[in-house]
């Protein structure tokens, strides 16, 4: 059973546009939701993260929107640039049980066309 479902699998956006990636989770105990960016041959790099006590968090061009009742969260990349072309992963974790292993989505391959 896939606990974090991510869509779309791939996305092409024109330079300057808004990239939107969506995730849905099933485990209501999850209380930490990060987004990671991964370039080929590199490890995932933390972009931005949110906890359920807020509905939105913005850092620069990156915004997470969180809907606790729908168990969904999304990443918005404003003014998308060719350098943003990468694979993006959403993840979730339960931080109250001592084991904070992240459960990842399957990833979204984002291409920003110049």
């Amino acid at each position: 059973q896939q606990q974090v479902k991510q869509s779309p699998q791939s996305l092409i956006v024109q330079k300057g546009g808004i990239s939107i990636i969506n995730c849905a989770y099933e485990n209501t105990a999850f209380d930490y939701f990060p987004w990671y960016q991964q370039f080929p041959g590199k490890g995932p790099a933390l972009l931005i993260a949110i906890r359920p006590d807020v509905s939105e968090k913005k850092e620069g061009r990156f915004t997470i929107s969180f809907n606790k009742s729908a168990k969904q969260f999304s990443l918005h990349i404003m003014d998308s640039q060719p350098g943003d072309s990468a694979t993006y992963f959403c993840a979730a974790a339960y931080s109250g049980g001592g084991a904070d292993g992240l459960t990842f989505g399957k990833g979204t391959h984002l291409i920003i066309q110049p």
Binding site: Q6, Y32, P34, Y36, G41, K42, G43, P44, A45, L46, A49, F89, A91, A93, S95, G96, G98, A99, D100, G101, L102, T103, F104, G105, K106, G107
Partner: protein
Amino acid sequence: GAGVSQSPRYKVAKRGQDVALRCDPISGHVSLFWYQQALGQGPEFLTYFQNEAQLDKSGLPSDRFFAERPEGSVSTLKIQRTQQEDSAVYLCASSLGGGGEQYFGPGTRLTVT
């Protein structure tokens, strides 16, 4: 060091060989995690250490996989009698403590032939 480092970066093993993958976490980070990332997939949790204690090994796929962190810093993931299905990128991550942000290393790409 400034970030999480892993070695070797690439490892080719013949089926049946044993391999050992090393992770150096960020200095002072209490928590250390191992993940397995198959081609085109998201990372999957393998195991978690808090200092030298292995608190969760529920993600280890078989008893051929073994991880240790004897002094609470460097960790080694060992895979015995490697199989082709073990081919993947093995990622290590560390965080300051429970519930903290996890920072990943570059990974070790293991190819079993």
